[in-house]
Amino acid sequence: MKADRTPTARGTSRSRQARTAHRRPSVATKQKAAAADAETGHRRELLRQMLLIRRFEDRCVELYSAAKIRGFVHLYIGEEAVAVGVNQALTDQDAVVATYREHGHALARGVSAGSIMAEMYGRSTGCSGGRGGSMHLFDASRRFYGGNAIVGGGIPLACGLALADRMRGDGRVTCCFFGDGAFAEGEFHEVANLAVLWRLPLLLVCENNRYAMGTALSREHAQTDLALRAASYGMPAWPVDGMDVLAVEAAARRAAEAVRAGGGPYFLEALTYRYRAHSMYDPDRYRDKDEIERWKSRDPVDALAAVLRAGGEPEGGVDEIAKAVDAEIDDAVQSAEQAPYEPVENLLRYVTSATEPS
């Protein structure tokens, strides 16, 4: 990762220009201070988003035990830096396609915690009207295209979204998240080829958390350097430390910039780890607890909190963020509890469009 391509470094170089142009150190100092403030504010926001995901999912565990949430639930805890970091590089006009492990992607995309919680409660006010549940969160207004529970199933969809953007030339990026397991499916390889061939504005983010359910990376891939293999299709492809949100953000900005500039698809391999079992049904017998602890020692939330504290964040600053996040989650749960059930008379809604296609 080149430091001169991070937004922070760019800010610094702008203030350096200002200094030479005006020769007024007081202004430069002010600008420097403003840039530092902005940087701290941004990092606080990153921390807030990661904490929101983590605490939201902690709450999901409780609610699942209480049978408020049912079905399959896959937790993202440990991987928060990936969704949060990548989303910094996307605009509201860009699109996101995710997997069944997508609470984090939805929250980072700005889908409200309340509408996600209501969806998991299976209520009418859920972001998918109670039809989808945990694995099928959708929010067209945020250009959040789900929520796909067929491994690899979202990748061709993302390819098509990018194709439409490319044909209309509207400079948008489609970002597709998928796992190391999905990297073994034909869908990924077919799309990788097609997207390079057609120079599609597609950002492929492989969340390599080292397991596809119970199968470890080295038992699912002959060549475990996934970025290397992606590069063979003729697109830029780089690994990034998925436990470091700042590194993810920097890499994603570089990638999104290249895609937006018309360079075709770009592949990021985020090296990360899920702390929890694959799903609520998984007894997690296939990995040793030491391995989990080793990864937890590099926790992305703790790491960013440490960076903030080193930068002068006061004692209790992080707790304050956590408190605000908890209040948001409390609200989400409370509104889900009170939300209406979808009447059974509406069972056949949304099978086909309400109006005939013209």
């Binding site: 399959f72 039809r131 549940g133 069972l347």
Partner: protein
């Protein structure tokens, strides 16, 4: 085990364990048999069916595969053609769609296209069905689609004894056999000994005799149909419950002789109604025993909607015991 102890005390086991025991037996009996699929080894199968087999038979014969359904199902076909006896596990029918091309265009057609030269003695097992609030993409019941295809056999064991015996019968078949295990059945407990009624690939079983109406069903709907028959008995309606066991070929004789006795037929199928196996069975009844019928054939199927997540919507979408009771009452009224 002595014959005496087996005769006096029927052992209880689960559907899951019965299927596992059947695989263990097959792996022990025939060197050519091996199991492959996603997470069948170290994980023990996503529904725990193959738990312990890796430890007993080793990674050569209990093969974990990457997420590559088309590749490993196709590899099963190739290995079968080459003389092995693969058991391929696809986690669920939902993911079998990624391998549908291999199943339809290779497994089901090679024998015919090659003028009888290439047989495919392959067994594919997969979980099917809805009912656990896992939403549209994880709730399909597509065994009827597969039953549409000439060249393969489609089996749906619905009892512990069938789970215990179906695999040996499938492996003995020279052609591809698909076994559908409804997810709601794995914890079912029962006697694995088929007794006088071993699985004959093509034969349906009468699970409850009756005189007023015939309920034709299979797989995950069997427990519901039996429950409905119980309730109907309290309402003075004697319903016969037929468990198809084989979805292709269909045991026409068993269905027709029952309908000829009861004069009323209700078909229960978790798939969507349109173009379903229930439609096929209904058509056959009207073709073959139309003049025995005292009322139109009734069908109880899933509503024509992708299965929704919310509990009340999912329940409303799937065939329920009360729906079966109502359909039988309507037929006999």
């Amino acid at each position: 085990m002595t014959a005496g102890s087996a005769a006096t005390k029927p052992q209880q086991t689960t559907y899951r364990e019965a299927m596992r025991e059947a695989m263990r037996e097959a792996l022990r009996a025939d060197e050519r048999v091996f199991l492959m699929g996603e997470d069948v080894g170290r994980y023990g199968g996503c529904f725990g069916v193959s738990l312990g087999l890796l430890e007993e038979f080793g990674p050569e014969r209990i093969r974990d595969t990457p997420l590559s359904e088309s590749a490993f199902v196709g590899a099963g076909i190739g290995a079968a053609v080459a003389g092995m006896r693969p058991i391929v596990e696809i986690m669920t029918v939902n993911f079998s769609l990624l391998a549908l091309d291999q199943i339809l265009n290779n497994a089901a057609t090679l024998l015919h296209m090659s003028g009888g030269q290439l047989a495919v003695p392959l067994v594919i097992r997969m979980t099917t069905g809805a009912g656990r609030q896992v939403a549209a993409q994880h709730s399909h019941s597509l065994e009827g689609w597969y039953a549409h295809i000439p060249g393969i056999r489609v089996l749906a064991p619905a009892t512990v004894a069938d789970a215990r015996t179906v695999l040996a019968a499938a492996l003995a078949d020279p052609d591809p056999v698909l076994i559908f295990e409804h997810g709601s059945l794995y914890n079912l407990s029962g006697d694995p000994d088929p007794g006088a009624d071993p699985v004959d690939l093509g034969r349906a079983a009468i699970r409850r005799p009756g005189t007023d109406a015939t309920i034709v069903t299979f797989g995950g709907c069997l427990p519901k149909a039996l429950e409905a028959a119980e309730e109907l008995a309290r309402l003075d309606v004697s319903a016969e419950v037929i468990d198809l066991r084989s979805l292709r070929p269909l045991d026409d004789a068993a269905i027709m002789s029952s309908v000829a006795r009861t004069h009323h037929a209700v078909v229960v199928d978790e798939a969507w109604r349109t173009g379903s196996l229930a439609a096929e069975i209904s058509a056959r009844i009207t073709e073959q025993v139309f003049y025995e019928l005292d009322a139109p054939v009734e069908r109880v199927c899933s509503a024509e909607v992708p299965i929704p997540y919310a509990r009340q919507l999912e329940e409303a979408a799937l065939p329920q015991t009360a729906d079966i009771v109502a359909a039988v009452q309507k037929a006999v009224s």
